[in-house]
């Protein structure tokens, strides 16, 4: 049986406006000068309760920066909860940031092995799947050359083919999967549907509200790192849509210390790998 259990989970961390903390900063901080680079307390998730059992398909909706991706990463065990407890049983497959972590100097074949091992496969369990992964990626002879020679689309194809080759019990998906060209996209969508059907528990972050209503058994609406509402898909989506129409665009939550005016505003495109600052904003 697969299950997900989050109890009163909060994820908070300190971020600095400038990545680098200077020696002067170290010496003067808290002594006699006010810091120009104070730590910002970021509350990425607050008091989240979530429970899912076999058969549950949970959709997570909300505006950019609401904490949806942080929730997925916390479920995957990548972000540790600052408070509360996380319990996940079952083999997890995370479909986000999949193009990260290629060994660029190694061949496509080798990278299939590394990433499969990263997902918990063993040499014996992967033996039968390697050819299937290679065939799905349609990269042919390109698999014999180093991944640094691949185009972004080819990397994405390979990453997707490997990531979706395992049989997950718990499937965590970030909807933002731009997978290669049109033909491959169709194939990828079909495979995603297949995976979603076979996984025991699925949590999906999505902006496509139609897909959420169609595929999920329950929906969570998040705002500023908190769960606003949870319930049947149609009802929550309707409430979310009504709120989005009625209100002016939602301002992202601000960390407790305001950034200085000269610091650039964090980007808000969901395809970027969010840094902690981006996630907070």
């Amino acid at each position: 049986m697969a299950k997900i259990e989050l109890q009163n989970v909060s994820v908070t961390f300190n971020a600095y406006q400038q990545k680098r903390v200077s020696l002067k900063e170290y010496l003067t901080n808290r002594l006699f000068l006010n810091s120009k680079n104070p730590p910002l307390r970021v509350r990425a998730l607050e008091d989240i309760n979530l429970s899912a059992r076999d058969g549950d398909r949970i959709g997570v909706i909300g505006h950019n920066g609401a904490g949806k991706s942080t929730l997925l990463k916390t479920l995957a065990g990548i972000y540790p909860p600052t408070l509360g407890t996380r319990e996940v049983e079952g083999k997890i497959c995370s479909l986000f940031d999949i193009t990260l972590g290629f060994e660029f100097e190694a061949t496509g074949w080798d990278n299939i092995l590394y990433r499969a091992y990263l997902q918990g496969e063993t040499p014996s369990s992967i033996r039968g799947k390697v050819d299937e992964i290679a065939a799905f990626s349609e990269l042919g002879d390109f698999l014999n050359i180093a991944v640094r020679n691949y185009s972004a689309g080819m990397q994405m194809r390979l990453a997707f083919s490997i990531a979706t080759a395992i049989n997950p019990e718990v499937l965590l998906v970030d909807e933002v999967l731009a997978v290669g060209d049109l033909a491959f996209l169709q194939k990828a969508k079909a495979r995603m549907r297949e995976l979603m059907g076979s996984a025991r528990v699925m949590v999906m972050v999505a902006h496509d509200l139609e897909a959420v209503t169609e595929m999920c058994t329950s929906v969570i609406w998040m705002r500023h790192g908190r769960i606003v509402a949870q319930g049947p898909p149609q009802e929550i989506v309707d409430r979310y849509t009504a709120a989005a129409m009625a209100l002016p665009p939602v301002e992202p939550p601000q960390p407790e210390e305001m950034p200085s005016p000269e610091s650039p505003a964090p980007a808000e495109t969901p395809v970027l790998e969010p840094t902690p600052q981006h996630q907070a904003a």
């Binding site: 961390f13 300190n14 971020a15 680098r20 995957a76 065990g77 990548i78 972000y79 540790p80 600052t82 995370s94 940031d97 999949i98 990260l100 972590g101 290629f102 060994e103 100097e105 190694a106 080798d110 092995l113 590394y114 091992y117 990263l118 997902q119 918990g120 496969e121 063993t122 040499p123 790998e273 902690p276």
Partner: protein, 268 residues
């Protein structure tokens, strides 16, 4: 800690595949390839032997060459494991952001790679000694040195792990370790024998140097060959100290992992 080690064991296929890749990529596109792992310390040793064997050696250039090469191999391992290992989280950030594997496998990736690299130079020492001495005592010495290699590996993993956690918060750590390693090279009896320091009343410098312990438990039995009773007693004493230092380092590393492992991802 045991749960952590079992998670590392679960990740062994991933870890070993990457260690193998690192070894292959170390000399990518070079004609001599892995041969550089052997040629580099050998070339250094030849130079040191020509220049220093009269100054620091006992008049026998082959004996001094084995002494220097073994010293360089062990020191090179400790230095690189600590300095490169402390950058392990920054180098493996992409994996860390993608998978909840235990962080220590990334420092172990560096440490294991460096260990294999240094073992090649130590193999040259063994060949040199076998040719020079022509008896099986060398293999007895090698057997006595093997637990020392294992202790050095564990200690280096612990130091690299502590260094990697600190470096994630304080990037200057990696540079500090590099400077420290440079100084350590001259303070550790690698190219000279400790008797030189003892005769000047500076033996305490060696006594307080933990790197020297690992150097001694590996190099001393290897060079001594078939051990004498006194030699064994001395080696036993060295081993006890090395085990104690390793235990302290492992305890420190365990403490650092427990303290910082929930915070480090937000600082990468």
């Amino acid at each position: 800690m045991f749960r952590h080690l079992s998670a590392v064991w679960t990740a062994r296929h991933f870890l070993l595949a990457l260690v193998k890749l690192d070894l292959r990529l170390r000399y990518k596109r070079s004609v001599l390839g892995i041969g550089w792992s052997l040629l580099h310390p050998i070339a250094m040793t030849v130079v040191f032997t020509v220049v220093f064997s009269q100054l620091f050696g006992d008049g026998n250039p082959v004996g001094y060459a084995a002494f220097a090469l073994a010293g360089l191999a062990v020191w090179g391992f400790l230095r690189d494991a600590a300095t490169l290992g402390s950058k392990a989280f920054l180098m493996n950030e992409a994996y860390i952001r993608q998978s909840p594997m235990p962080y220590t496998i990334y420092t172990l990736r560096t440490v294991l790679g460096q260990a294999l690299h240094s073992c090649m130079a130590l193999a040259v020492v063994v060949v040199l000694l076998v040719v020079w001495k022509g008896d099986i005592g060398v293999f007895v010495g090698l057997a006595l040195a093997l637990p020392g290699l294992l202790l050095a590996l564990i200690a280096a993993w612990a130091v690299a792990t502590i260094g990697a956690f600190i470096t994630a918060f304080f990037h200057d750590m990696a540079h500090m370790l590099e400077v420290g390693a440079q100084i350590g090279f001259f303070l550790t009896p690698i190219m000279y024998r400790r008797s030189i320091l003892d005769s000047r009343g500076l033996g305490w410098l060696v006594d307080i140097n933990p790197a020297n312990l690992y150097l001694s438990v590996i190099r001393d039995p290897l060079l001594a060959g078939m051990p004498t009773g006194d030699g064994l007693a001395h080696l036993g004493h060295l081993y006890l100290s090395a085990i104690a230092v390793t235990a302290v380092l492992v305890a420190l590393a365990t403490g650092v992992v427990g303290w910082l492992h929930k915070k480090v991802i937000f600082h990468l």
